[in-house]
Symmetry: C2
Subunit: 358 residues, 2 copies
Amino acid sequence: MLERFKVPAEDRVIVPEPEVRAATEQIFRSMGLSESNAILATDVLMFNDLRGVETHGVSNMLRSYVAGYRNKTLNPRGAITTTRETETTAVIDGGGSLGLHVAPRGMDIAVEKAARYGMGAVCVTGVGHMGGTGYHAMRALPHDMIGVAMSSSGRVVMVPTFGAEPRLGTNPIAWAAPAGEMAPFMIDIGTTQIANNKLRLAQRVGAQVEPGWLARMDGSPIMERSNIPDESYMLPMGGVREQGSHKGYGIGAVIDIMCSSLSGIGPGFISLVPGFHLLAYRIDAFIDVGDFKQSMDDFLRGLAATKPAPGHERVVYPGQLEAEEEAVRSVEGIPYHSEVIEWFRSIEGELGLDFSFT
Amino acid sequence: MLERFKVPAEDRVIVPEPEVRAATEQIFRSMGLSESNAILATDVLMFNDLRGVETHGVSNMLRSYVAGYRNKTLNPRGAITTTRETETTAVIDGGGSLGLHVAPRGMDIAVEKAARYGMGAVCVTGVGHMGGTGYHAMRALPHDMIGVAMSSSGRVVMVPTFGAEPRLGTNPIAWAAPAGEMAPFMIDIGTTQIANNKLRLAQRVGAQVEPGWLARMDGSPIMERSNIPDESYMLPMGGVREQGSHKGYGIGAVIDIMCSSLSGIGPGFISLVPGFHLLAYRIDAFIDVGDFKQSMDDFLRGLAATKPAPGHERVVYPGQLEAEEEAVRSVEGIPYHSEVIEWFRSIEGELGLDFSFT
């Protein structure tokens, strides 16, 4: 994450991970989630906070989930049903549940199918937010599989290249593969220039946006560095046509098809609800697992050892910084904006919970 | 394709598609290819030329293939062998063949497996150039499947974000899905800012490159519009970090893993040979085919009907312009640079062939 998105030092409160985890599980349980779903949903948020992906941790998302349970747009007791199934594929419906705990169940089905047949893919409907795609892709790794997770968004925010009307969500995708000695490879990206949540985070820390990140309401790209305008659309990954925005637009559209059209809920800009797609590849259906991990170690070591360009200290591979951050935060705690901790204090009182924050 | 890459009017020669196809088949046969492989390899090149993807048609590629057969880096009679296979997956080796006619066989295997089990994926080793990924992805469409094709490159040209040494090829990916009344959706992109072949084409037509497309030999991005330098590295899709180059770098790395590490040939920057990955999804394993095509029509119509931003005439979806170009070129012929036609004349004499160009 760019430096400007980090919590400024003077607003930072460091909290041990187990305390935030326990508090978050309490909140989910008090919203009506089962014990196992509360644990799973919390695990997704803590995964993000531990790895430095604060856009998808408790800071931005938890209060919106609470609001969703309160206004009944989220069902705390939605049941998962299977609407279509083959040897390698399934479409499941979450019955209006938060996506955080339905997506892992979807990936588990994909993994089971891949264990038996080599590959598995599951589309998910009837769900709220997924909580970032990274967690769900990485869920395949302990099974010696490659994992992929995608989500179409219920909110249409991205203008196509040359367009003046939004047609796609931030439509993120994550792709993860295990290695041997090296930390796993994991790329987790939105297909807009900037994640939706990152805009909110930028507003909180007073950061500016770069040229080619946003478009004015007539679709024209904002090509100067500026504060975040009150109203804007998001540009596809790449920004403008000369910088490859047609590629970001196209990849965003692919994710829409895989999550929305293939799942049966219809194009994102018509259905306006999220859909997921989860995919698992069993590595030894192609190559011995040991050989693959050796190859991955060689690949990742080579990337990390790349001679840096002037002005840069080192080159990293996708997932490396996040793994380093996780190692630090697991021991030292997670830095939150003081305003987030105040929210925890207030919801603690409101719901009659006991977080015993130190 | 940006206007600057098109053949200038004064250098343009229009040739009917069947004449170029027949001439190209003759050339492949005279290199020693079987009748069916010559037809298949030619079909890939003509697909690209008909759709306006001249970077991957006969202009740039055919003479390099001829050189490959002559210097024995390509085997005109390489046999395909299967080195690993499960219900849904296979790894095949092309025995040193040109990838143009091996990749379609790989996709056919993926399609067969998907027809039976819902999904199929094939890694390909022991091959030369694939001739662009688009053809191979679209091969799944007549079977009512979604098709994906990727290739790692034998040539390492892309510097990672912040890197000063090349670590990845242009590593392209194509992704195609059928529609009902609308032309199919098909995105076919390299994961560098600019395709390798497009640089050569740009040199031929005297075009300039944009800021953030290339890096100097010390890894620093060239941030002014300029002529193509004698030596340069390619920047990942996105260009620089602030514009999301870490996403392009990461997607390029994913393709390297799927084509090179998963296939067993090892990381691209170590093995320095290409590998392919071909993937097919059977649509009715998720949703009825008619419903999917209706949803795709709604999606693609909506994208194409997006109100354009100031200065632009319309918004298109991936594959739309290429389908329009194909409709025109099938009837009116294909525009080639006169220099390409001269090459056909010279190879005709050299190999004792008879192209009967009008």
